[in-house]
C-alpha cells in the first residue's frame, strides 16, 4: 500500500540530493567567499568606527587645549595620513644615520603640528597628544590597508586575496583594539606598560639630588655601596622616549670609557602562554627602537669593552601600550633588587655603573 508513494518520494529525494551535491561541489567555494567577505566588511565597519572615535577624541582634546578653528576636523584627517618615507636600504652605507635623522625630523614635525593645533597645551600635554596622534595614525593605517585589500579583493574576485585578508583579520583587529585603547590611556596621561623601564629608573631616582636634562632625557647620579650609579630615563611625566642611546654614548665619553657596566631595563614582547610581568635577565642592548639608539649603545659598549646587561619585563603588545597592569608595575621593585644584585656581585667598589630605564615615560616623572 505505502510502497509506491514512498518509493516515489525517495527517488525525488535522491534527485534533489544529487543536484544539491553537485551544487555544493560547484558553489561551496563561493559560499565560503561570501562569508569571508561578510566577515571582512564587519571588521571594516568596526575599524571605521574606531578611526572615527579616535578622530573625535583628538578633536575634543584639541578643542580643550584652545583650538577654535572651523577646519579642525580637516586638519585632523590630514594629520592621520602623516607618513615617513623610509631611507634607501639598497645602499646600506650610513642607513642608520639617515634613519636617525628622519626619526628626529618626524618627532619635531609632529610636535610642531600638535603645538600649532593645541595652542594652550603645556609641554606635558603636547607630548601626550603627540603620542595620541601616533596611535591614531597607526590605527588609521590599519584601517586604510584593510579597506584597500577588501576593495581590491572584491574587484578582482581573487579568492586568495580575500582569504589572506580574512586570515589576517584576527591579528589586525587585535592590534587595532590595542591602539584604540592606547589612545584612551594617552588622553589621561596614565603610565603605560612600556614605561616599566622608566618606572624602575624613577624609583632609583627618588632620592637623587642633582638631575640634568638633555635631549628629552633625564640623567642623575645615585650613590650605592661605594659605586656611582648614573641613572637615565626619558623626561616625564609627558609621553616621551628620550634619546637613551645618544645619552649613554655621551656619558661613557664623559667618563672616558671608565664605566664598569651598563644595565638596561626594558619591556619585551611576551609570547602567548607566558606570564605578564615575568623578569628575565640577558645580555645586549634592551631597547626596541628602529635602530639608531641601539646602534649607539652597542658601538660605545664595544669600543670601550663595557659589559652590557639587560633585564626585561615581559608583556604583550596590548599591555605595552595601554595603562600599566598591576603585575607589571609590581615587577619594578623586583627589578630593582636584581639591579642591586648585579651591581654588588659584578662591579667593583668605585665603579661607575650606567643604569638605563628604557621606555615611554608617560605619567612617570623623575
Amino acid at each position: 500500500m505505502n510502497g509506491a508513494p514512498s518509493d516515489q518520494w525517495s527517488s525525488i529525494y535522491y534527485i534533489v540530493s544529487t543536484l544539491l551535491f553537485f551544487f555544493l561541489i560547484l558553489f561551496n567555494q563561493r559560499i565560503q567567499v561570501y562569508f569571508w567577505l561578510q566577515e571582512i566588511s564587519r571588521a571594516l565597519r568596526r575599524l571605521e568606527k574606531m578611526v572615527n572615535d579616535s578622530k573625535m577624541l583628538l578633536l575634543r582634546t584639541f578643542r580643550e587645549n584652545g583650538n577654535n578653528r572651523h577646519d579642525l576636523i580637516q586638519k585632523i584627517n590630514e594629520l592621520l595620513e602623516f607618513y615617513v618615507i623610509s631611507p634607501v636600504e639598497r645602499d646600506p652605507f650610513g642607513v642608520i644615520r639617515r634613519l636617525e635623522h628622519l626619526l628626529n625630523l618626524q618627532k619635531d614635525k609632529l610636535r610642531e603640528i600638535v603645538t600649532s593645533l593645541a595652542p594652550r597645551a603645556d609641554d606635558i600635554m603636547i607630548r601626550n597628544i603627540s603620542n595620541m596622534v601616533e596611535a591614531s595614525v597607526a590605527l588609521n593605517t590599519l584601517y586604510r590597508f584593510t579597506r584597500h585589500y577588501s576593495i581590491l579583493g572584491r574587484k578582482t574576485k581573487s579568492i586568495y586575496m580575500i582569504m589572506q585578508l580574512e586570515m589576517l583579520l584576527p591579528q589586525i583587529m587585535k592590534s587595532a583594539e590595542a591602539y584604540f585603547s592606547a589612545l584612551k590611556a594617552f588622553a589621561h596621561g596614565k603610565p603605560i606598560g612600556d614605561g616599566i623601564g622608566a618606572l624602575v629608573a624613577s624609583k632609583l631616582l627618588l632620592q637623587a639630588e642633582k638631575k640634568r636634562i638633555e635631549d628629552d632625557t633625564v640623567i642623575a647620579e645615585v650613590p650605592f655601596e661605594g659605586r656611582r650609579l648614573i641613572v637615565i630615563k626619558a623626561l616625564g611625566p609627558g609621553g616621551e622616549v628620550g634619546r637613551p642611546g645618544k645619552i649613554i654614548e655621551r656619558i661613557v665619553e664623559e667618563e672616558r670609557g671608565k664605566v664598569g657596566r651598563i644595565i638596561m631595563i626594558d619591556a619585551a614582547l611576551r609570547l602567548e602562554g607566558e606570564k605578564s610581568g615575568e623578569i628575565v635577565e640577558g645580555i645586549g642592548a634592551a631597547i626596541g627602537d628602529p635602530g639608531p639608539e641601539k646602534l649607539r649603545i652597542e658601538e660605545v659598549a664595544t669600543r670601550y669593552k663595557i659589559p652590557l646587561d639587560s633585564i626585561i619585563v615581559k608583556e604583550s603588545l596590548e599591555e605595552a601600550i595601554t595603562t600599566m597592569k598591576k603585575e607589571i608595575a609590581e615587577a619594578a621593585d623586583l627589578v630593582i633588587e636584581r639591579i642591586k644584585e648585579i651591581v654588588r656581585n659584578r662591579t667593583n667598589i668605585g665603579d661607575v655603573v650606567l643604569i638605563a630605564g628604557i621606555g615611554n615615560s608617560m605619567g612617570i616623572a623623575q
Partner: protein, 118 residues
C-alpha cells in the same frame, strides 16, 4: 547581523534536508542499494551544515580601573586610591603624619572583581 541570519538559515536548511533523508533511509520500503548512499549523503549534509555554523566567540573584556599608590619617603605609610586626573609617578603629595614627604609610588590598572551573579 545579516551574515549570522544567513549562516543559521543555511545550517537549518541543510539540517532539515539531512534529517529528512535520514528518515527516508530508515523507512522499511527502502531495501535497495541506495540506502547506503543516502545514509552517507545525509550525514554529509549534517556535517556541512555544522561547518557553516557561526563562530560563537563573543569575548567580553573585564572592567578595569586605575589605582594610584601613595607612599611616604620615611615611614611605611601606604595608601591606595582611585586614579585622579593629573596624577603621575613621583608627584609630591604633601606631608605624612610622621613629617616625611608623600609621593605617588605607582599607578596601575586592576580588574574589577566580577559580581557573583551573572
Amino acid at each position: 547581523m545579516k551574515e549570522r541570519v544567513m549562516r543559521i538559515l543555511l545550517t537549518a536548511i541543510f539540517m532539515i534536508i539531512g534529517a529528512m533523508l535520514a528518515l527516508v533511509t530508515i523507512s522499511p520500503s527502502l531495501h535497495d542499494m541506495r540506502l547506503q548512499q543516502l545514509i552517507i549523503f545525509s550525514l554529509l549534509l549534517v556535517f556541512l551544515a555544522l561547518s557553516y555554523l557561526p563562530k560563537f566567540s563573543r569575548r567580553t573584556k573585564p572592567a578595569r580601573k586605575t589605582i594610584t599608590v601613595i607612599r611616604c619617603m620615611q615611614c611605611d605609610y601606604k595608601m591606595e586610591r582611585d586614579f585622579q586626573e593629573g596624577d603621575y609617578v613621583l608627584k609630591r603629595m604633601g606631608t605624612c603624619s610622621c613629617g616625611g614627604e608623600l609621593y605617588i609610588d605607582m599607578i596601575y590598572d586592576v580588574e574589577i572583581a566580577k559580581p557573583l551573579t551573572r
